[in-house]
Symmetry: C2
Subunit: 312 residues, 2 copies
């Protein structure tokens, strides 16, 4: 089955919030909103292999204090597929247009995993005054690059899994060999890794159906960050940053990273943001899963809300 926007009946399910769409000129961004427009604006950016509705519970909890927007990036959920054009710069500029055209006021952004890298991009490269503050939720800064300035590269982390996703599912699900992927995952990946995405069972989990596997290739081959070196980006951050750091562990025999970002890499993020003259708050949750906003929404929301209360 070739999942994606061209086969919506087979791909998508209904959710607690209505979905809407925004035309950037190149792509249609699918999104949902909770909370009143007179509240401060908060933009939530999902992880790789996640869609906006990963934030559903968090949105409900946040809607008393914020107008919350949760989006699908290009290649996620119901947003447009753009072969050959998955880059951090393009993800980020899509959100610049979304904020300018739809939110239309200064915005706090919180992004998870790859979405956390996009959150970092907005904190560095958005137009003046557009972003008030940024949360990076367990972001693979450096660790999602193929040639990072610091610490393990993507190949030494989740790269092999992303490459396998692309190989057996294909760009835009053009291969869609789910049994082949499951078999290869059992044979070629460390057990902890195939468990992360639920690569077993008869059919793909919902979140994978909504994912363009070309993302996996863009990360595994490095094209996604080829024109966006993370060290340079972090040196240009212009707003206060909250960094939440979840489960991580370095495998002693190989030096491989289990988790999104190593302690050394997270420390370098803080040093670079501080050197850029910006406030940097670091919270460590070594017991928390990668997608804390979905696995423990109360902890995520409390952490975010308490930090936002300290912003000027």
């Amino acid at each position: 089955m070739r999942y994606g926007p061209e086969t919506p009946d087979e791909t998508y399910v209904s959710h607690a919030f209505d979905e809407a769409s925004f035309d950037t000129g190149e792509v249609t961004i699918n999104y949902a909103v909770a909370g009143d427009p007179d509240r401060p604006a908060l933009l939530l950016v999902p992880a790789q292999t996640e869609s906006w509705w990963g934030f559903e519970q968090a949105m409900t909890l946040l809607a008393d204090d914020f107008q919350v927007f949760a989006v699908d990036l290009r290649g996620q959920g119901r947003s447009t597929r753009t072969p050959g054009r998955y880059t951090i710069d393009n993800f980020g500029n899509d959100l610049v247009r979304f904020i300018a055209g739809r939110i239309a006021r200064p915005t706090i952004v919180s992004g998870t995993s790859s979405g956390g890298v996009v959150s970092a991009w907005l904190s560095a490269y958005a137009p003046p005054g557009m972003i008030r503050a940024a949360c990076y939720e367990d972001p693979p800064l450096f660790a999602s690059e193929i040639d990072p300035a610091y610490g393990p590269s993507l190949r030494q982390g989740l790269g092999p899994m992303l490459a396998l996703l692309n190989k057996y599912l294909g760009d835009q699900w053009s291969i869609a060999d789910w049994p082949g992927l499951c078999a290869a995952a059992r044979n070629e990946l460390p057990p902890f890794m195939s468990g992360i995405l639920g690569i077993d069972g008869d059919t793909p989990p919902q979140r994978l159906k909504e994912y363009d596997p070309e993302w996996g290739r863009a990360f595994a081959t490095g094209t996604v960050s080829a024109s966006c070196d993370h060290e340079r980006m972090l040196s240009a951050v212009k707003v206060p940053v909250l960094f939440t750091h979840h489960f991580r562990r370095i495998d002693e025999s190989t030096g491989a990273l289990q988790g999104a970002i190593s302690d050394l890499q997270a420390r370098r993020v803080g040093e670079l943001v501080s050197a850029a003259g910006q406030r940097f708050d670091y919270r460590s949750f070594p017991q928390a899963g990668h997608l804390m906003h979905a696995l423990d929404p109360a902890l995520f929301v409390t952490t975010l809300r308490e930090w936002m209360a300290t912003l000027p």
Copy 2:
């Protein structure tokens, strides 16, 4: 001498129009304006190794009918240098922010050479309603890619010259070996090619001083268009297009392209834009030099003005 924004006294000269700057959030865009703000907006984008003032004479001629903005892209003239971040997507999104924040109304864009590729990008990927129409002045569509869908690649055109510029001048003029460049150009390039940029004499011409040679590397290695396939881009054009095609010739013994774009490539551009449902007007000027707007401003302005008069 390390030319560029860090050594302005040694790099820049004065011009007939005042210069101003616009902050995109990531870079400062240097620009000049002519004409009254109640006239239609026209944005001019210079070529590689050119700065905004290449349009000085054309601006004077156009100022009766238009408010004319001429910009330096990142890495050109007085605009910011951005190591590692020279891509068509980034050039284009800088101008999206410039139009939104400075021009602030629907705009006709005309770009030359590499600036013509950026003009094509805006005609395809700008926010809805931002661009009224686009002129591509002798643009190296396909011909500036390292793996084009049609016709000669950059290596079979000006690629060797751009690679040499980067090798002897270095990113941000970090090498600045002008005598070495002149000697290598004599020994390694076909005579017509070194003549194009004036790579001889005791000092670099003014336009080269204002050029970040990292542009040359971004083109010669293909990173500039890595996430922006020209065929895909042209299939997404959303506004009327004027294409002016200047001197070109295919060397029979090598198949190499002398000029910006071959006849076959220009024909494919027209077919793709037409297939996208947009009007495409092609004007051939086989006697005209590459930078017609500077070499024959009257012909450039007449051509542009007559075409714009036919727009709805």
